[in-house]
């Protein structure tokens, strides 16, 4: 029964995204556009024995996946709440967690689309050096690792309007991406930024993604698991005090 309901919830979300794709257009176009620009400039170089284009599939890919999974469910739930639709869902027999899980799940195909577009772009430059298996691992890690960010997005969406949610989530994502080795290597930034990065889940997800191409990464998994617990608590508290 719940599987059938989950299916229709995901389907409704996907229909919504497909029929009004404007918001998603920017969350896909921006990271992929950035990626194409930088990979055309630096893709042929190499860092730590890895081609820059390959590295950028992991780092820019992390940013791309987060821009979809952090923003879409959060802004979506803020919109549902503002229109009174979340309240309608709450008085229905459908468990709210199922509706929220569907929102997050519906963002994942678009996250896969971002990764695919980046991998194809890097491949076209001729400087992508990664096996299909490692790219699949990379995609799997990023999709799973995006969970705490999706929960954070929901926590914001339960409290703020859609526009404010978009502002807050961008204010979290953009600076975090800048200092987390997602856009530019930490080596070219001041040392203190590298120390700040250690405390940011964006950094650990980026490093875990890189680890799928060059090995390691267990410590980042532990940090992300901890972050997932914290984000789940934040989302639960925010939901308990949701502004209807």
């Amino acid at each position: 029964m719940n599987a059938r309901i989950f299916g229709i919830e995901v389907l409704d979300e996907l229909r919504g995204i497909l029929r009004e794709p404007a918001a998603l257009f920017f969350s896909i176009l921006m990271p992929v556009g950035f990626f194409a620009f930088f990979v055309s400039l630096f893709g042929g170089q190499s860092t730590d024995g890895m081609s820059t284009a390959t590295r950028m599939v992991a780092t820019f890919g992390t940013f791309g996946v987060l821009s979809v999974t952090l923003m879409n469910p959060g802004i979506g739930v803020a919109d549902d709440r503002q229109r009174g639709w979340l309240r309608a869902k709450q008085v229905s027999s459908v468990p709210v967690w199922l509706t929220l899980a569907a929102k997050v799940t519906a963002a994942l195909p678009y996250a896969v689309g971002v990764l695919l577009a980046m991998a194809v772009t890097a491949g076209l430059t001729g400087s992508l050096r990664a096996s299909p298996a490692s790219l699949l691992r990379l995609a799997g890690v990023l999709l799973l690792g995006a969970l705490p960010f999706a929960l954070l997005g929901l926590a914001v969406g339960f409290q703020a309007s859609p526009n404010t949610s978009a502002g807050i989530l961008n204010a979290i994502l953009i600076p975090s991406a800048m200092v987390s080795d997602l856009w530019m290597p930490l080596e070219i930034l001041p040392d203190f930024i590298g120390r700040i990065a250690q405390f940011l889940p964006t950094y650990h997800l980026g490093q875990l993604a890189l680890a799928q191409l060059n090995g390691g990464g267990l410590s980042h998994v532990l940090v992300l698991l901890g972050m997932t617990g914290v984000a789940a608590m934040l989302a639960a508290v925010s939901y308990r005090n949701v502004r209807l």
Partner: protein, 301 residues
Amino acid sequence: MNTMVLQVRSVRHRYGHTLALDGVDLTVEAGECVALLGPNGAGKTTLVNVAVGLLPVQEGQVRIAGGDPRKAATRRRLGVVQQSVGLPRTLTVGELVGGAAIRAGVPRGASGPILAEVGLTKLAGRRARRLSGGQQQRLQLGMALVADPELLILDEPTVGLDISARRNFWRTLTRRRERGTGVLLTTHMIEEAATVADRVVVLHSGRVVAADRPDALTARLPDRTVIARTQLDPARLRNLPGVVSISVDGTFIRLGTRTPEALLRVLLAEDRTVSDLRVQGAGLEEAVMSLMNEATQEVAA
């Protein structure tokens, strides 16, 4: 067999130090329509939120068709039509009603007869954002009815509907009530409540101050209403002997009084141009206003 589809017993609810509901009792029988009336801040929204399980029952008991309203199984027996819900813009009428069917655990095919019942069959492929206000209300009703609920809770369901849409809405509801669906209606449209409700419950400051048939409530009131066109200004009318209330209804003045004969004599003496004069018994609106005035005076005392 339990025919009570909603039972609210001795419910109290506080927001911090503010007592929003103070020992409220309310029942809705199968097939019955109960209108919940009261001024803003009376506790209607809190009561509905407690009844549908959006707020916890802090004290007292709430049962929908004998079940706990916070349980999914109970909620399948409940349909809710809310005021001004923004339905998902991108989904079609057919998708929304079909989805509601699946969510309620009934076959998607159940949506066809429901669309016909609420008069939306021809609009099944239209997206919700392209519907008029009346069509959206009918769609919400269809989504609420698809699970064949035992209790329907309607929050200001006909606000913004024209007369024809309103009549269609109530006609659909009447058919459902004949099949045993109970209805709890919150509304500010008191005369509409008088027409459609079997019983009226008046809430004031979190307490039920009256619960009775609409005609029984109006019969309690000795007041009569003198209606006329007059050139006297409202301030002067208010000071006429025997006037207990005054309201302006278009070009007419409505004067509430318990001594209509004496008032008529004074009115005709004061204004020889008085026209379209008539006296009628108090309506539900006057009865509810009177009950609320009494309740306000009690609270003040």
